[in-house]
Symmetry: C2
Subunit: 197 residues, 2 copies
DNA sequence: CCTTGTCCCGACCGATCGTTCGGTTACTCT
DNA sequence: AGAGTAACCGAACGATCGGTCGGGACAAGG
């Protein structure tokens, strides 16, 4: 077998350390010295694994975006009544948010100062539009209330879901992933769904 | 009369410029040179009006926090049935968010790297707890649904409201403040309020 | 006229930024 | 044992960071 044990860093393991620090201090507020200290290696050693600071950010947001876009390819997001596909996507978004928590957290805080950040913002907008179209279709079906504008509702629902990264912590037995998913679905759809149906 | 005209900077007018740049580039991503360029004066001139970069941040988040805490002192937030006080606070939060948009935006992005930031985070937590208590009281009255945990619901509602700063722009005639306020109230309370009452 | 104070500037400070480089350890394979 | 290489290090790079300093322009008040 090849290399049974590995107590050295790979780009992936280094990334998981870096992302933690990025979240705590902010990307711009994190120096390579901070990363080195957190990883337990010297500053220059980091460059043996990655080309620089920005690559770490790029890898992180890529992972988050892949997880989110992956939802749209799943069967329940593609076939069926629009309002039910929407509910499926909303529930899966919460699951991806919690399972890929640090990476999504970083994605949601990107401001667009560098090329990597601007690319991430663009892909994020794409995803938002895809979900907004789903809500629009559900509205056309008459399955969601009509007295709140679709674009506005989309943004508010996204806001609620995305805010999960601000407080959800998977380790402690505070609230489970399932509990959060259910709560979001209840709040969103008991507010959105047309009661008169 | 004293000093009829003023085409020079005051700490307040300088702050409004600085806050814009802070929002666009992030606080850590903004250098004093960036601020100087945006204000049209030299870097060293900024220090004639404020003691430094951190004071600008402190002034900004203070203004946001004053606006939010001011809500809790208003009459409709102090007297009446808990669920109605809660709705009033929610609506007023949206109004303060939109009217003090740049300052609240900055407040919500604070991470806690400096003393000023940690102080802001602490006061923010205080405010959150005050509103959470209101929701708890409404739950005790039986006015909000019981199948979603109060703490969880508070966080999700806060998430929805706070996310407004990510897209609301007062200048363009996209969506008006009143429209946003109504939409939030509808979504939140048609989801939260106990239908069986 | 001269002072006083506000407002601003260019030049510069030590510190820290992300990154590079030459070299050393330590493990793998033959 | 010896060669090759992955992993790492300390020292240093130019650039930029937040902040300081001494002084100039200009208006108000005497």
């Amino acid at each position: 077998m090849t290399t049974a044990k590995r107590d050295t860093y790979t780009p992936e393991t280094l990334l998981s350390v870096a992302v933690q620090v990025f979240i705590e201090r902010g990307y711009d507020g994190t120096s390579m010295e901070h990363l080195a200290k957190a990883a337990g290696i010297s500053k220059s050693s980091i460059y043996h694994h990655v080309t620089g600071k920005e690559e770490l950010l790029r890898r992180a947001v890529s992972r988050a975006l892949d997880g989110l876009f992956g939802i749209l390819d799943e069967e329940h997001a593609r076939v069926g009544r629009a309002v039910e596909r929407l509910e499926y996507v909303v529930r899966r978004m919460v699951e991806v948010l919690t399972s890929e928590l640090p990476y999504v957290t970083l994605l949601l805080r990107v401001r667009g100062n560098t090329d990597a950040e601007r690319w991430a913002l663009e892909r994020r907008r794409d995803f938002d539009h895809r979900v907004a179209d789903l809500l629009k279709a559900a509205a056309a079906d008459g399955d969601v209330r009509g007295d709140v504008e679709v674009r506005l509702a989309t943004r508010l629902v996204f806001g609620m879901i995305n805010s999960i990264v601000e407080w959800y912590r998977p380790d402690g037995r505070g609230v489970g992933e399932r509990e959060v998913t259910d709560a979001v679905a209840q709040l969103v759809f008991s507010g959105l769904r047309n009661q008169a149906q």
